[in-house]
Amino acid sequence: MIDLSVKIGGLKFANPILTASGTFGSGEEFSHFFDLNHLGGIVSKAVTPEPRIGNPSPRIAETPCGMLNSIGLTNAGVKQFVKEKLPFLQSLETKVIVNVAGKTIDDFSTVIKNIEDAGGVDGYEINISCPNVKEGGMAFGVDPIITGKITGQTRNATDKCLIVKLSPNVTSISDIAIAAENEGADGLSVINTLVGMAVDVNTKRPKLATVKGGLSGPAIKPVAIAKVFEVVNAVKIPVIGVGGIMELNDVLEFLITGATAIQVGTANFVSPQISEQLVFDLKNYCQKNSIQTMADIIGSLKI
C-alpha cells in the first residue's frame, strides 16, 4: 500500500498535490471537472478584510511559456468569503488552506479571526508576496523584520497550520524564510510570482495596465526550484514548491529538491483537471518505482 501522505506542522495531507492561490478560485469552479477530494489540499484565492475590486484592465498578458498577471487581490472581503465561499470549502474532505492578504500587519490576523469564528478550514497561507498591490503584499515579504512580525501575530491568532508564502523578488530568500520559521510558521510556500513586464511594440504601451505584474507558468520553474533548494537548506520546517508545475516530472523535480508538497498554479487555467491527474500520475510513478512513502523521494537530491 503506497502512502502518499505528507505532513506540514500538525496537518496531514492525503497527498502532496495542492492548488495554488489565485488559480483555483474557491474550488467550486473546478467541482464539475473532477472530485476535489482527490487532492491533497486546496489553497483559496486571497482573502482580505475589506472587499477589493482589483486593478484596471488589461490584467493579463501571455509571455513565452508563461503569463503576466496584475489582478490585484480581487476578492469580496472576509465577511462575504465566510458567507458565500466557505460553506462549499467546508463541505470538502480535502484539506482547505485559506490564503490571507492585507494592507497592514493587523489585517492578516483580522481575516484569520473572522474565519476562525466560522470554522471549518485546516490552515492559512500568509500572502506577503503579491507583487500587484500598492500597500502590503510584496512590500512585507521582502523585509525579514515585517515578515517575522506578521508571522508572529498570525501565529497567535490560530493554532491551525500556518504557511507563509514567500516572494522570489528578494536578495536573500533564506533570511525571509528563517524569519518566518523563528516566529512559528509551520511551512513555507516557495515561490510567489516574479515581477515582470511586457511591452506592445505597436502601441509602445505596457501590456498590463499596472505596467508591471507577476510572472507565472513553466517559464519560472527553474527559479522556483533554485529558491526551494535555498530554503530547504536554510530552515527545518517543510517547504511547499510552487512555480510552473505542468506535469509529473515537475512535481518530482520539486520533491527531489526537498519540497514536502507542491502547488499547481497557472496549469489550472489551461488544464482544469491537471491537479487531479498529477495525483494519479504520482501514484502510478510510485507503484512502478516501488516507492512506499513520500519520504523516499523528498529531498533525495544527489549533488
Binding site: 489565485g22 488559480t23 483555483f24 478560485g25 467550486e28 469552479e29 473546478f30 467541482s31 464539475h32 471537472f33 475590486i53 482589483g54 484596471p56 484592465s57 488589461p58 490584467r59 493579463i60 498578458a61 501571455e62 513565452p64 511559456c65 508563461g66 503569463m67 498577471n69 489582478i71 480581487t74 469580496a76 462575504q80 458565500e84 465561499k85 507558468g217 513553466p218 505542468m246 497557472t266 489550472n268 487555467f269 489551461v270 488544464s271 482544469p272 483537471q273
Partner: protein, 274 residues
C-alpha cells in the same frame, strides 16, 4: 460583482473534438468545423469555446473562440477566426482528422426577448463570428432578422450567403468603399435608425471596441435595447483567473468579468474599453 459561480460555466466540458473541415474565407480568415458530441447540445448563441491550440507551453494559454454555427443533428460546430499570431496559426495548421482540445461552452450568451418585431444584428469585422448561431436561434422562433456588417475590405463577405440562406436581409459597408456602403457599419446603421426604432427591435452586436462604443451611444440615443458581445484577454475562461475585467456602468465600485457575467452584456451594464 456577483460572487457566485456562473451556472453556465459549471456545465462546461473538458473534452476533445475532431477537426472535420477547414475552409479559408480569405487568406487569413478561416472557418473550422469540429465534431464533438458532448459540447454541441449545450451551446447557446453567444457562448464561446476555449481551445488549446497545441500541446505546448508556448503558447501556453487557451484561446477563446465564439461558436459560429452549430449542427446539433450532426454533432458539429464551427468557429470562424483570423490568423493573428502564433496561437491562431497553430490552430489553422491543425490537420483534418486531428484531435482538438476543447473547453466549453463557456459564458453567458445572447438572450432573445419574447416580443420582437425584428432583430438587428450589427457586426464589425470578425465580430460576425457569434451572430450566425444567434440567427439560427432567431429563425427557430421566426423573428425577422436584418444584418449590418462592416469590414475594411470586401474579401470576407463571401460568408454573407450563410446568413442569406437563413432569410436574413443583409446590409454591407466597407471602409474603403470597395463594396456596399462607403463608411463604417455604425454610419450605415445611422442612415436608417429612424425607421428601425419605430418597431420593437433589439440590437445584437459584436466587433471592435471603438465600434461598440459608438453603437452603445446610438442605442441609448434612440432608446433601442442592445446586447453587446465583448472580447478580452483571459487566462481561464471559467471565472477563476479574474483577468477579463471590464468597467461596470451599474456599479462603479465593481468590475464585470467577461467569462463570468458575459461575454454578452446589456449595453447599459458595461463600458467597452479603448
Amino acid at each position: 460583482m456577483k460572487n457566485t459561480v456562473s451556472p453556465s460555466n459549471l456545465s462546461s466540458k473538458l473534452t476533445r473534438g475532431i477537426l472535420l473541415e477547414k475552409k479559408f474565407i480569405t487568406r487569413s480568415i478561416i472557418k473550422m468545423r469540429i465534431a464533438n458530441e458532448e459540447i454541441v447540445d449545450l451551446i447557446q448563441p453567444g457562448q464561446f469555446i476555449n481551445i488549446r491550440v497545441a500541446d505546448s507551453f508556448s503558447p501556453l494559454l487557451r484561446r477563446p473562440f465564439s461558436v459560429f454555427r452549430v449542427n446539433k443533428g450532426e454533432n458539429w460546430f464551427e468557429i470562424l477566426f483570423q490568423i493573428i499570431g502564433k496561437g491562431t496559426q497553430l490552430l489553422a495548421d491543425t490537420q483534418i482528422g486531428a484531435e482538438v482540445d476543447l473547453l466549453g461552452p463557456l459564458g453567458n450568451g445572447f438572450v432573445i426577448p419574447k416580443k420582437l418585431d425584428f432583430a438587428v444584428l450589427v457586426a464589425g469585422g470578425l465580430g460576425i463570428a457569434p451572430l450566425l448561431v444567434l440567427t439560427q436561434e432567431l429563425k427557430k422562433t421566426n423573428i425577422p432578422t436584418i444584418l449590418f456588417w462592416g469590414n475594411r475590405t470586401k474579401d470576407a463577405f463571401t460568408i454573407v450567403s450563410d446568413f442569406e440562406k437563413l432569410g436574413v436581409k443583409v446590409f454591407l459597408a466597407t471602409d474603403d468603399g470597395s463594396f456596399g456602403f462607403n463608411g463604417t457599419v455604425t454610419e450605415l446603421l445611422n442612415t436608417t435608425v429612424e425607421n428601425i426604432k419605430k418597431s420593437t427591435v433589439e440590437i445584437f452586436t459584436c466587433g471592435p471596441n471603438p465600434m461598440l462604443k459608438t453603437l452603445k451611444k446610438i442605442s441609448i440615443n434612440n432608446n433601442i435595447p442592445c446586447q453587446i458581445s465583448l472580447e478580452t484577454q483571459m487566462a481561464c475562461g471559467f471565472g477563476v483567473c479574474m483577468g477579463c475585467n471590464v468597467t461596470s456602468k451599474m456599479d462603479s465600485e465593481q468590475y464585470k468579468y467577461v467569462c463570468q457575467h458575459g461575454p454578452v452584456f446589456d449595453s447599459w451594464e458595461i463600458e467597452p474599453g479603448d
